[in-house]
């Protein structure tokens, strides 16, 4: 029996990669020519990024409105070992057998904008398996499901704000943004800070991925230095002898509005 690529389905978009590339290049050129590119570079993705088709009807058209954080917004939910099992940070031991793929360790620190560690806070991850397939009913990619890999992990940061996961390197996968669209391999991360306003969901990528230039989700962060912050570093000091490769990736949340005084107060209390 031979396998071949399925013909494009009715919901496959028909725009070519070249057309999407041209759209992305035009946005990049406009950004590079803008007056603020050097003095005030963008740090977040554009909410309105037409090359990512699903953003068209789902981005606010009005500017975000400034609000000084108040009350509840100055604190974050608290999680502990009641909420997160100690083994949930190892995605390779969850389902009664060993998953297929490149075993890897990913570790880093969660910091606030002032460089203070975010301690004892929840970090959640989810990812495709080594073949690029998620265990999700909506994932129709005809790549094999790995019965020993759910692709879901959780942990709490330690006293230094450090998280560590053991997992399998995810594969790239196709999606329906345009014809022959592929996502670079990535791990989804969900993070909390000390303030609810620091809430972050993002994606970690791998160095040197040839799909970066082609991916509208990655390119929606139009500033090259900003999007490079999503790329982990291969780190041989994290690699484990005859066991797993290692990657390092630190995460910086936006600034906390809590003053050092408030933190001291809390530690005394």
């Amino acid at each position: 029996m031979t396998h071949s690529a399925p013909p494009p389905g009715p919901d496959s978009a028909s725009t070519s990669q070249a057309d999407v590339d041209a759209e992305m290049a035009a946005i990049t050129a406009a950004y590079d020519a803008s007056a603020t590119v050097a003095s005030d570079p963008e740090t977040q993705p554009r909410l309105n990024y037409p090359p990512y088709r699903s953003s068209l009807l789902r981005h606010p058209t009005k500017d975000l409105h400034h609000a000084d954080p108040e009350g509840i917004e100055l604190r974050a939910p608290v999680f502990g070992h009641r909420d997160v099992g100690r083994l949930e940070s190892d995605l390779t031991i969850q389902d009664g057998g060993e998953p297929i793929g490149e075993r890897m360790v990913v570790t880093g620190r969660v910091l606030d904008g002032d460089g203070r560690p975010v301690r004892h806070q929840l970090v959640e991850v989810w990812q495709a398996n080594s073949a690029g397939r998620y265990i999700h009913k909506r994932d129709q990619h005809p790549a094999p499901i790995d019965p020993h890999f759910t692709g879901v992990g959780r942990t709490l940061t330690d006293d230094e704000g450090r998280y560590t996961f053991t997992t399998i390197k995810p594969g790239p996968y196709p999606w329906k943004n345009h014809l022959n669209a592929w996502r670079p391999a990535h791990i989804h991360f969900s993070l909390f800070g000390t303030d609810f306003t620091q809430r972050l969901v993002t994606q970690m990528y791998f160095p040197g991925d040839p799909l970066f230039a082609l991916d509208p989700i990655y390119q929606s962060i139009v500033d090259p230095a900003a999007r490079a912050r999503l790329v982990a570093t291969y780190d041989h000091s994290v690699t484990q002898h005859e066991w797993a490769t290692g990657y390092s990736w630190d995460i910086v949340l936006t600034g906390s509005h809590r003053t050092p005084f408030e933190d001291v107060e809390e530690e005394i209390a």
């Binding site: 409105h65 108040e70 939910p77 999680f79 904008g113 460089g115 909506r138 994932d139 936006t254």
Partner: protein, 185 residues
Amino acid sequence: MSDLAPTPGQTVGPFFGYALPFTGGEDLVPISHPRAIRLHGTVYDGAGEPVPDAIIELWQADEDGRVPQVEGSRARDGWTFTGFGRTPVDDTGHYSFTTLVPGAGSVGAAPFFAVTVFARGLLHRLLTRAYLPLDDEAAAADALLGSLPEERRDTLVVRPDEHGFVFDIRLQGEGETVFLEHGTS
């Protein structure tokens, strides 16, 4: 002010359904709680169509206006109010939390629920507030509501219904919800 550049956000994508939701995420209190209320609504896109692949988080004070700082949101014991909830919308874009009415606390500020929206197609999470119903005078006195024209202000105020409150979220277009930034990029 911040020294380090922040790590950018990215969309939650379509495949969070087996990772982020957790059992009881939508029930900050059991439905049998004597003062349980419902906070619910629908997420709409710019065409007025419901968004079926969003996930909503709720973070709020307790009835006395105190900010909960206790663990147990992911493993609720049924007795402890942790103040945090998370629920995906259903196929009709609808979400529903069972919770308590947040109190004003000693400061007397207008109480609100802090709400975060994630969705496929939404490249960075959106933060907003769902205020309890309040009169014009109180709204004008609130730092945020007072800074908004009346028609936009209304997008941040819940509407009472039979069991609690309705808070619809419009990502784009007519009646677009006011989304917030807090000055730290």
